[in-house]
């Protein structure tokens, strides 16, 4: 028995698995729970409200939360509808707009995170590993980074049709350099590791080397970065919509609802209050998730024994 112990080495005390550590972190659990709830709200929007979020009702303009409306159906029956969050200046139900608005926000957040990480990862890997490309790539990235997201968005929207795609493109472009810098810094330290040199000397070609030995090291910091990107994208989308250069105003997004309510804010604050709460809660949840993931995935942040 002792001979096998000698050949196999000391048994390393089992470290709690990654999934266990993730679940144990209260910041992650709370953040993920809130986010899951909002995602659920977005997905189940048609079940949560019977009112079309785009339906204009001039009679019931600017009603305060809790106002009930009697709707006469085509077959003559009457039903009572309660506007839980009031209505806006066109008589649209704020509650159903907020519920549907979750879709746009989450979609923009997720799409921007995925797209900017994918593009940035490829550029960062190649730029960080192939030295002569690095100087060129990084100067381009510096240039992109110097463009303010909101001005770029205004430019993109004015060049093309305003819409979801334009907004996503406008937010993705300035995010890419941040991802590239992060990936590049990881690549620069990993490429000096002896195991990378060992892989070179056993003849592993560069693309495989990058995917097999370098890429896995970037995953953990990128997951964390993705959450921060998602949170900032949700905010920027809301800002763009609020400024009127984002998604067209008839589409319910939290930014659009707030933009709509801006003029009558002093009299009817609910138009801004409710979408604002949801926006803040979502961004908070995503950031909490990111902080928790960073603490768990980044060994340098882990508390010493």
């Amino acid at each position: 028995m002792s001979a096998t112990a000698d050949t196999l080495g000391l048994e390393v005390p089992p470290r709690p698995g990654l999934s266990r550590r993730l679940v144990r972190n209260p910041t992650i659990t709370v953040g993920a729970a809130i986010l899951a709830l909002i995602l659920l709200i977005g997905l189940a929007a048609p079940l949560l409200t019977s009112i079309d979020p785009a339906q204009i009702n001039p009679v019931y303009r600017n009603k305060t939360p809790g106002t009930t409306e009697i709707v006469r159906r085509d077959d003559g029956t009457k039903t009572t509808v309660t506007h839980w969050m009031g209505t806006d200046s066109l008589g649209r139900d704020v509650y159903s707009r907020v519920v549907y608005g979750a879709r746009a926000s989450l979609l923009v957040g997720a799409a921007v995170a995925v797209i900017s990480i994918s593009i940035g990862l490829v550029i960062g890997l190649v730029g960080g590993y192939i030295r002569w490309l690095d100087a060129v790539v990084m100067r381009i990235m510096d240039g992109l980074m110097a463009i303010p997201a909101i001005l770029l968005a205004i430019a993109v929207v004015s060049l093309s049709k305003a819409g979801l795609v334009a907004v996503i493109v406008a937010i993705v472009i300035p995010e890419i350099p941040r991802v590239v810098r992060l990936v590049r810094s990881v690549v620069l330290s990993i490429r000096e590791e002896p195991y990378v040199e060992a892989a070179i000397s056993v003849g592993t070609r560069t693309p495989l080397l990058l995917v097999r030995h370098v890429l896995p090291n970037t995953i953990a910091p990128l997951i964390v970065q993705a959450t921060y990107i998602a949170a900032s994208a949700i905010l920027i989308e809301a800002i763009l919509s609020f400024l009127g250069v984002g998604i067209p105003p008839e589409t319910p997004t939290w930014g659009n609802i707030m933009a709509e309510g801006r003029t009558l804010f002093r009299v009817f604050p609910h138009n801004i209050l409710y979408p604002g709460i949801f926006l803040a809660l979502t961004v908070l949840a995503v950031n909490m998730l990111g902080d928790g993931l960073r603490d768990t995935l980044d060994p340098r942040m882990r508390k010493a024994l």
């Binding site: 096998t4 050949t7 196999l8 080495g9 000391l10 048994e11 390393v12 005390p13 100087a135 590791e193 002896p194 195991y195 040199e197 060992a198 892989a199 070179i200 000397s201 056993v202 003849g203 592993t204 070609r205 495989l208 097999r212 030995h213 896995p216 024994l305």
Partner: protein, 544 residues
């Protein structure tokens, strides 16, 4: 006879729960008398440093002394409170550390750091303190003391930094000096000077020294008494000459037997054909960036001309920065040589294109120093070994069969191929790295300080393995090391490098017995413990 300076009785330090053993050290008895040097030897994880930290009251959180007592000139340190310990440090006991760069504050001038000790513990006036600082800096033989105390740690060399550390530790003439591997991070010639300095100051002031080391050469050099530690327990404690000549415990015997001898082993001349030859190989790093290229170009290796025959081991020895590793990496084409030829078989390796290089790469393989970083932690041992052959078109099945055979060749269980590197010890990882290199069926195997990070007993095993493999596979081996003892045992011929140049090149026997170059002479003279023959267990005449 006066009472001992340091008296450790039945000391036990408990590790936090979940560690690999219950006690970091268990029931250790140790004394250090006035004016003597006690060496504490042991392999990594034996608890040497824990003892030092326990004495200084610097145990890390989670560790606590749970039994026994530590008396410094009669005063119990384990019951002393934090403020008393603070008073005692530097005044009655001091410590110097392994890495002088991190032990000194990088943003404070060296003089100010010594002065801080005086300001904290004495009420001398500033000019008196300055005099005392200059005195101690002179006492540690630093030239230009005025300039030294005005320098920041990064402006001076490693040896100088260690001297500043020693000055700091001894400025208040403590009764006890604890030295925790103080020369391990230093080059061998610097190490010899620092050892001599510690010896000299300790004699002059009658300081008791607890010297922690893993190197029996250092022990033979300076120790009055030796304590051998294994797994937290003291296995043997006695006078140096007696213990080295006639170790009572099997473990001590094994440790001493593992110390490679400085006397080169007899080797037959190798007459097989040359497999690798370099001519005038030079690697220059251009200083500066895009705009000031070609200014101050530093040659890391200059005009290196070497050759290795089949079945032969060529050693490259030298201190850090001498260009040994640059040569290795140029030959493995991990970096491009600036000039010169590297001929492997009949191809010039230095000038072929990338595509041709891919086909030829497998002929030169390399094993690196750090076993913890040379395997990708995310990939299993099996994946690491088969990666190379599969890059050259071997099928997964064939490569796996080969990996199993190689695991047996390096004496590891083939069943552990699906394990991850962190499940292996340092020595085992190094075996895995050797297996990975051999999977390529190379003509030349480069071992770049491949045993330097290993404990001496593990080092002996890995060296034996490398030698066996070289013979069995008739490999040419390029063995890079800073350790002359290792070079004496494994190499047929040796090249001594200094400042990027080969200053001496010949058979190990000739170079070790009749060094010509001054640098080689200095290097050999500095080898710790050269006055002791570890295989015979007696002092041996030191060739002058």
């Amino acid at each position: 006879m006066s009472a001992p300076v340091l008296e450790i009785r039945n000391l036990t330090v408990t590790l936090p729960r979940g560690a690999d053993r219950v006690h970091a050290i268990k029931g250790v008895d140790l004394t250090v008398d006035r004016g003597e040097i006690v060496c504490l030897v042991g392999e990594s994880g034996s608890g040497k440093s824990v003892i030092a930290h326990a004495v200084m009251g610097l145990l890390t959180k989670g560790l606590s002394a749970t039994g026994g007592d530590i008396r410094l000139t009669g005063e119990n340190l384990l019951t002393a409170d934090a403020s008393r310990l603070r008073e005692l440090r530097c005044t009655r006991m001091s410590m110097i550390f392994q890495e002088p760069m991190t032990a000194l504050n990088p943003v404070m001038r060296c003089g100010d750091q010594i002065d801080e000790v005086l300001a904290t513990h004495t009420d001398l006036a500033p000019h008196a303190r300055r005099e005392k600082v200059l005195d101690i800096v002179r006492a540690v033989h630093l030239l230009e003391p005025e300039r030294m105390i005005a320098s920041y740690p990064h402006q001076i060399s490693g040896g100088q930094r260690q001297r500043i550390m020693i000055a700091m530790a001894l400025v208040l003439e403590p009764a006890l000096l604890i030295a925790d591997e103080p020369t391990t991070a230093l080059d061998v010639t610097t190490q010899a000077q620092i050892l001599a300095l510690i010896r000299e100051l300790q004699r002059a002031h009658g300081t008791g020294v607890l010297f922690i080391t893993h190197d029996f050469g250092v022990v033979a050099e300076i120790a009055d008494r030796v304590a051998v530690l294994r797994g937290g327990e003291l296995v043997e404690f006695g006078r140096t000459a007696g213990l080295l000549a006639a170790p009572r415990h099997d473990y001590t015997r094994m440790l001493i037997a593992s110390v490679p001898s400085l006397v080169p082993r007899h080797r037959d001349e190798v007459t097989a054909p040359v497999v690798l030859a370099t001519t005038g190989m030079t690697k220059t790093y251009a200083a500066g960036g895009w705009f000031n290229r070609s200014r101050d170009a530093v040659p890391a290796a200059a005009d290196v001309t070497l050759s290795i025959r089949q079945g032969e081991t060529l050693g490259i020895v030298g201190e850090s920065g001498s260009g040994k590793s640059t040569v290795a990496r140029c030959i493995a084409r991990l970096i491009e040589p600036t000039q010169g030829r590297i001929v492997v078989g009949d191809t010039d390796f230095a000038s072929i294109s990338r595509a041709q290089l891919h086909a030829l790469r497998r002929r030169v393989q390399i094993v690196f120093q750090d076993p913890y970083r040379s395997l990708n932690p995310r990939r299993t041992v099996g994946q690491a070994i088969v990666e190379g052959p599969m890059n050259y078109g071997a099928s997964a099945g064939d490569a796996m069969v080969r990996a199993r055979n190689l695991m047996e060749l390096v004496r590891l269980d083939p069943k552990s191929l699906d394990r991850f590197p962190h499940q292996f010890s340092g020595g085992q990882r190094q075996r895995i790295c050797i297996a990975r290199a051999l999977a390529m069926e190379p003509a030349v195997l480069i071992a770049d300080e491949a045993v330097s990070a290993l404990d001496v007993s593990v080092q002996a095993q890995v060296l034996a393995l490398l030698d066996e493999i070289r013979q069995r596979l008739n490999l040419a081996m390029l063995f890079i090391t800073h350790d002359l003892r290792v070079a004496a045992q494994v190499c047929d011929r040796v090249a001594v490098m200094s400042k990027g140049r080969v200053v001496e090149y010949g058979t190990v026997r000739d170079v070790f017995a009749h060094p010509h170059h001054d640098y080689t002479k200095a290097l050999l003279a500095a080898a710790p413990g050269r006055g002791w023959d570890f295989s015979e267990g007696r002092a041996r005449p030191v060739p002058r």
